[in-house]
Amino acid sequence: MHPVDTMGQTREGAEYGFAFLDEDAKRELRRSIFKAVCIPGHQVPYASREMPIARGFGTGGMQLTLALLGPDDTCKVIDQGADDSVNAANIRNFFALTCPGVTGTLRTEAASVIQTRHRIPELPLRADQILVFQVPYPDPLVVVEPNAAKRRRMHGRADYARLWVKLYEDMVAFDEITISHRYPTRINGHYIIDPSPIPRFDVPKLHQAECLYLFGAGREKRIYAVPPHTDAIPITFNDVAFAVESFRDKTTGKRHVCRRCGADDSFLDEFPDNDGARVFQCSDAAYCDMRLERLEAAE
């Protein structure tokens, strides 16, 4: 029996075990996750398996999620904050095909496992929730040191002097730290991580959270973790405060709000509408939907 039908999609459950990966692969992932949680911020190497979705499209995140999921779980997948984005839809389809029994959801508060690309949900996550990040570049030192062995040594010693120099050079050139996303963040006072391409806006959510954060890089073959109730401090200078995206209008000085739900506290997508005017809308679709529901219920 061929497990693949003509549409290029696997017939549900055909020929693959639960969650696609074989048990050896899951065990190795689980060993790596365990050590990553015991050594917060350290990039644990693992033998990343090829997935039917291309490298660069979230195979690291997927392998983590597949090692975690059981039939009791409720799973949400977002990309740029939206469940509807093509990449999230593709991954969600894959989970639906390979994890019979797992419930899918769009609602953040209903999910036990959330896989995300480039955003942390606006709603603070609970202790019974795990957020899995898709990571393209696990190592923040790559910008200052191309040699992997040297980088490993620097991380072990928490020797990040060259990273500080890079930030200083930014200040000298632009009077600003120009790093926008992937902001280097120090975990538990030792390892500095690349928190994945989340915007600065989301970095404070890593600090002393209730939930567990797991980071998976498929192509680069590294797993790391930020446990709950753990210090996660974006690095900066004593006299330069860490600033998040302000969404402040340059002329009026007012903070833009979502055109759909009116939120003034969420990360906004900015794009031109069909008339060429600039519009702003919550990047986190579920948050926006929830606020709209509440507004409509209040009326």
Partner: protein, 185 residues
């Protein structure tokens, strides 16, 4: 043996459920996980090893508690205690060895030690602080001699090197990652 014929403890769905509970308490040192509904009357220590061990891993059983059948299912290679990634030990016997502590470059090489104690809740409270703990947490193992905490303090003195302890009584499990600071006892 097909997947359907495996004893309950070794089935993929059991191992997944075990892993989630172990992960939850590893992320929150001080909390204990009740594994009784998953154990199929086997000891929690075996369940902990079953979650992580396979033929790529090395184990030292210092207790003699693992039967030949258990070892066959675990599929691990046995080796001297200083060389292995997984150690099974008794809390009543103070450790007289130095386990793998990992290296600066590869601290994940530090061993995972499953320590069998009498109870996770009947002893004198230890005060725990560190990652995963809001302010502080208490864990009260009985049947864990002071030699263990002394040894652990030495092994984990040079972060990121160190070992990670999995404390088990008959049905429950708690984790002491190398980052957890312990006071009291």
């Amino acid at each position: 043996m097909s997947v359907l014929e495996l004893p309950r403890l070794w089935r993929p769905e059991t191992l997944q459920a075990l892993f989630r509970r172990i992960l939850d308490v590893a992320a929150r040192p001080g909390q204990t996980a009740d594994l009784s509904d998953l154990l199929d009357d086997r000891p929690a220590a075996l369940a902990a090893l079953a979650t992580f061990c396979d033929n790529t891993q090395m184990l030292a059983d210092l207790t003699g508690a693992l039967s030949d059948t258990d070892l066959a299912f675990l599929d691990v290679r046995t080796a001297p205690v200083e060389q292995v990634g997984f150690i099974l030990a008794r809390g009543a016997d103070a450790p007289r060895f130095t386990p793998r502590l990992g290296t600066l470059d590869a601290p994940e090489g530090g061993a995972t030690i499953v320590v069998m104690v009498d109870s996770l809740t009947a002893g004198t409270p230890l005060t725990l602080t560190g990652p995963g703990i809001a302010a502080q947490a208490l864990l009260s193992p009985s049947g864990l001699v002071p030699g263990w905490l002394d040894a652990r303090a030495g092994w984990c003195a040079d972060f990121p090197m160190g070992v990670d302890l999995v404390l088990v009584d008959k049905t429950r499990l708690a984790v002491l990652p190398r980052t957890t600071k312990i006071k009291g006892a």
